[in-house]
Subunit: 351 residues, 2 copies
């Protein structure tokens, strides 16, 4: 089969790999019908994260079940399934608490599972999925979604779940004012998630017309282009002299974390899902003095998918709008270039 391999900075290739098979009785093999490039895939692409040897890459995909191990009980061959961005067991204390990203048997795509067996990456034609029952989520009654639905289902794998996580941790909800820092796919999904949770006023911080347009479509009531102190001042002005109840941080840099923190009112909440990089920190004394709550981290997509999926299938949310480019899998190198150069918000790859 064909799959995407990263060889080093700016060196993405689509190569031949052995077709996966069921190795454990709890496995499924999934034929990928749609995959995509994540903002975090750009870290090794940009050399920010080292690539020591050629590695399979990609952790967001949906597809059709092709074969199953004997112990898989909730899935059938032919089912359309969504893969969250990590493998989880569904039985350990963390999974039972809904925190599947800290599962005792955690595994990522493109590496190995907890038995040391290889797991394929998402940006390829097929994937062996360990712990299939507890990892995959079946899309009921549909096997051939149209393009728009396919795109929305794919976002549940990561970006929409992550935006939802940020919104939950920021305590977005009815009557709340919200600021979203970051206008990538996750930030845009954060806008949509805040709207879905009932937020009253949603300010998207963005300088790009195309992203601003999607933010507005997703429920943003206001756009702020200013950054730093000017951005904070603009938020305060828009909200009648006070800062926001809820702020979603969807980037992870020192600057964006400060921007986000300084947009939260006393007693408000910050949800952060951007992986902290470049020295991003939050001074504890600042939290003490402002009574601001902070929470975030990786989204437990597996826990969130069922409720988000219901809204996607009911047509209530269309997070797939974050995909502005669709390419065949063979063009993965160009997909990375387009996202790296910010010519694309998010690229959907069709194997």
């Amino acid at each position: 089969m064909r799959a995407t391999i990263i060889h080093g900075p700016s060196d993405i290739r689509v190569e031949d790999r052995e077709y996966p098979t069921v190795l454990q009785p709890t496995d499924a093999v999934v034929k990928v019908t749609a995959a995509c490039v994540c903002g975090s895939d750009l870290w090794p692409y940009r050399g920010v994260k080292p690539t020591h040897e050629p590695s399979a890459i990609g952790h967001e995909f949906i597809g059709l079940v092709e074969s199953l191990g004997d112990q898989v009980s909730t899935l059938a061959v032919g089912d359309l399934v969504i893969a969250p961005f990590v493998v989880s067991c569904g039985k350990c204390p963390q999974c039972l608490n809904g925190v599947t990203v800290d599962c005792d048997r955690l595994a990522g795509w493109g590496g190995t599972d907890d038995a040391g067996l290889p797991v394929d990456d998402g940006q390829g034609q097929a994937v062996r999925v360990p712990l299939a029952d507890s990892t995959l989520v079946k899309v009921p009654g549909i096997t051939e979604p149209d393009d728009a639905l396919r795109a929305s289902l794919l976002t549940l794998s990561d970006v929409m779940a992550t935006g939802h996580h940020a919104a939950l941790k920021a305590q977005a909800g009815p009557g709340r004012t919200v600021v979203v820092v970051g206008d990538g796919a996750v930030g845009l999904c954060g806008v949509l998630a805040a709207k879905r949770l009932g937020a009253e006023r949603i300010i998207a911080m963005s300088r790009h017309a195309d992203r601003q347009a999607i933010a507005r479509e997703f429920g943003a009531t206001d756009i702020v282009e200013e950054r730093g102190d000017e951005g904070v001042a603009k938020v305060r002005e828009l909200l009648g002299g006070v800062l926001a109840d809820s702020v979603l941080e969807c980037v992870g840099t020192k600057e964006s974390m400060e921007q986000a923190l300084h947009c939260v009112r006393p007693g408000g909440a910050l949800g952060f899902v951007g992986v902290p990089t470049g020295g991003a920190e939050i001074p504890l004394r600042y939290l003490f003095d402002t009574n601001i709550s902070v929470g975030g981290g990786m989204a437990s997509a597996r826990s969130y998918i069922p409720e988000l999926l219901a809204d996607v299938l009911a047509g209530k949310i269309n997070p797939g709008r974050v995909f502005d480019v669709v390419m065949p899998l063979e063009e993965a190198p160009e997909a990375y270039r387009a996202m790296d150069e910010r010519r694309a918000i998010k690229v959907l790859l069709v194997p």
Copy 2:
């Protein structure tokens, strides 16, 4: 009148001060019937916080309204009132959000109000209370509480409200497991607050038999004497192999903050009310990796008092048990010594 003045480290004196009068139409003058020494009063006493000139001290008191300005509408002369540990206006955005500790017109006891007029300290015979309507809380139907009730009412001024704040921010509630780090009056009130909110299992970290006894009386199901990694291991053992859903940090040192953070399970919550000192910080990457939420700071006692007061008056909670010593105001120097040397948990002063 007589009032407590700090002159420098270990130098507390009870001295003569001018009796307060109504200076603004929104003032009340309150005759103090009970006051107390706070753990935070020990910072200047120990020289950790400098004392540049003799200063009035004490921020927790209850008393009887003695005189009122023309614009005070909700109080009457003779009312028994609880003073939260800061003055607040009740009208600014922060007060309307329930975050009275960040009030636009914030003032503390023993300093000056926002008009620059002097405010008396709580450890004295009488206090001019600015913004009386929005600051004081009337105790309905009672003017002469017995000793036990008097003590419990006094805790609402600070320590019980602060324990409640920690428990709320730690998301303590039904079905949750809780760890409380710190066995001072606030930590003990944190145990009581967690119990009141319905927590299922409450582990108090304490090495003092007298404090352990009160913790158990307040609802602690387990006591852990170990500290550091051993303490974390003990918590994990007690909770069947996992860490706590909710942890209350009620000290503020680097060590106690680490102890608290490392007792929280992935996806759990930490409520911190100890003022961060000695380099206490929380690494953002740790929060990201563990999905732990953090919130805390000063408690908006004014917002919490009504519901806590209802439970005190109904006899549901008896937070006044944290007072293990009662002294006349004139013995304030000995009260400070007793608390500094940990001979007393908390001293109640009677003017």
